[in-house]
């Protein structure tokens, strides 16, 4: 009974939210579809946790409409279709992993069997271990187990792999991917760009309460700059900025870095403008570079 791929899981329409007079979101629109992983990125205080809080029903909007499965997120029935992994979360210390998972699963009518939940989260061997005897990574896996206990159609994951070694991270990404492929909509909040790049079908960048970029990871990267050209040149930064496709110029001593959306076009123009330039190197921009650039440009425009 997985929902059709096109159905909307969560929707924010014209939402505004302010805290003690300080506006965080203004006329904000957002939608998350079933079967997709959407990563929310942006600087701290940009409004990411407010968006997550509104969708999960933790916060109430000042204006606009918030819907989870076309209902109020505070309805018990919408909450019953949602699984949440909070960033700061403890566990009932004195309960075993199986007891804690079974207790939580018991809130849902459409729950998975405790045995199956533990297996999916890779916790079978730890079933009888008390929660206060777990490592940080193991605790995080229990949090994931709690999130999937009610066979949710919507998963909210806040920094799911904090404290994981690389192998455990990839294992967790596989689990999340499996859920998404089975039709679950996933909202991912993360500070790790590699995580967003590996997991997300769509990246939504928020700054100052507005969506400043929205698209697949590859498109986000392409939007700013396909690559970085590092060179030594006699040309001034102002001149370099005029080159075709150049998005941003950074000068550090004798070295200059040019962010470009089309390295070929920029380089060709560079050859004719300064045939004497030396030490050139072209690297593809990371998602992190791209985001830093998008956010910096937005802030500059606003100022």
């Amino acid at each position: 009974m997985s929902p059709s791929a096109s159905s909307t899981v969560a929707r924010l329409e014209g939402v505004s939210k302010a805290y003690s007079g300080r506006s965080v979101l203004t006329d904000f629109d957002f939608a998350l579809e079933a079967g997709s992983v959407v990563a929310l990125l942006g600087p701290n205080g940009a409004g990411k946790s407010t968006v997550a809080g509104l969708i999960t029903g933790r916060l109430a909007a000042d204006a606009g409409a918030v819907a989870l499965f076309d209902r109020d997120p505070r309805d018990a029935d919408s909450r019953a279709r949602m699984g949440v992994m909070l960033q700061a979360a403890g566990l009932p210390e004195a309960l075993t992993v199986a007891e804690a998972v079974g207790l939580h699963a018991g809130y849902f009518k459409r729950r998975l069997k405790t045995k199956d939940i533990l297996e999916q989260a890779g916790l079978t061997a730890l079933a009888k271990r008390r929660c206060d005897k777990l490592s940080g990574g193991e605790q995080r896996r229990v949090h994931f187990a709690l999130a999937i206990a009610g066979a949710p159609d919507f998963l909210v994951l806040d920094e799911p792999t904090t404290g994981f070694d690389p192998e455990a991270r990839r294992a967790m990404w596989r689990l999340v991917r499996e859920k998404a492929d089975a039709g679950v909509g996933v909202l991912l909040a993360t500070h790790h760009m590699d995580e967003a790049e590996a997991l997300a079908d769509r990246i939504v960048v928020i700054a100052d309460g507005k969506i400043i970029a929205d698209g697949p990871p590859a498109a986000i990267k392409a939007k700013v700059a396909g690559s970085t050209i590092r060179i030594r040149t006699g040309l001034s930064p102002a001149h370099l900025k005029m080159l075709p496709s150049a998005a941003k110029v950074d000068q550090r001593g004798a070295d200059t870095a040019i962010l470009t959306t089309n390295a070929r076009a920029t380089l060709e123009a560079l050859f004719s403008a300064d045939p004497a330039f030396t030490d050139f190197e072209v690297t593809s921009a990371s998602l992190e570079d791209a985001l830093a650039d998008i956010i910096a440009n937005t802030v500059k425009e606003a100022a």
């Binding site: 946790s49 809080g53 999960t56 029903g57 933790r58 916060l59 018990a76 029935d77 909450r79 019953a80 279709r81 949602m82 949440v84 909070l86 960033q87 700061a88 979360a89 403890g90 566990l91 009932p92 210390e93 004195a94 309960l95 007891e99 207790l103 939580h104 018991g106 809130y107 849902f108 009518k109 459409r110 729950r111 008390r130 709690l146 009610g150």
Partner: protein, 250 residues
Amino acid sequence: MSALVAAAPGVYVREAGAEVIKSARMPQFIIPTIVLPPAFYALFALGMGSGNVEMATRTLATFGVFAVMGPALFGFGANVAGERETGQLELKRLSPMPAGAHIAAKLVATIVFSAFAFALIYGLAIFAGVRLAPTQWATLATVHTIAVLPFALIGLGFGYRLGQKGAIAIANIVFLAMAVMGGLWMPVAVLPEFIQTIAWALPSYHLGEIALMAVGQSDAANLWLHAGPLALITSAAAIFAWTGQGRHAA
């Protein structure tokens, strides 16, 4: 009935079971609150007041209230504060768990552990020569069970507002102040006059007096004189607890 949310009675039972298990597996927290009041009672009734059955009966009534205060104040105050700080409460709120299940479960666990404490005191009282009619024992046990409620609500109110350390500190102060000024250790009548005035605002005083009525040491005709203020104080504590909810929301 919802097709997605589990039936409430089952959730309440499982949640209460989990709370009892959690406390039972943390003996370092629960044992002192259970053992301390009977130990004090033994000191008063069997040690200092040896052979004085009237005193043993009187202190049976008031120490039973004292015995309930520990698990109620600490169980709710410190425990809820800890679960709130670690996000466990938040996770339950975001789940379809019925809103009352968590608090009801803690109330059940508190009553279970309080009952251990006052049952120990009842045993010691019989040992000290106290003899009550079965109906008197039943009434006394009912009063002591009801006594959980106001203290649990006060503890809950602090648990919602303070961190775990703060809640423990406040619970300690409230615990001692209520015991001494509420006349649970020695009658209010022997305390300074201003404390006698303060006692009227304390649930421990009224519960102690009602428990004394149950064992025939105070005139039951005055029941409403204490039940009335107790109901008012309990309502105020309920408001204190209720308004503390969601204080943690970012």
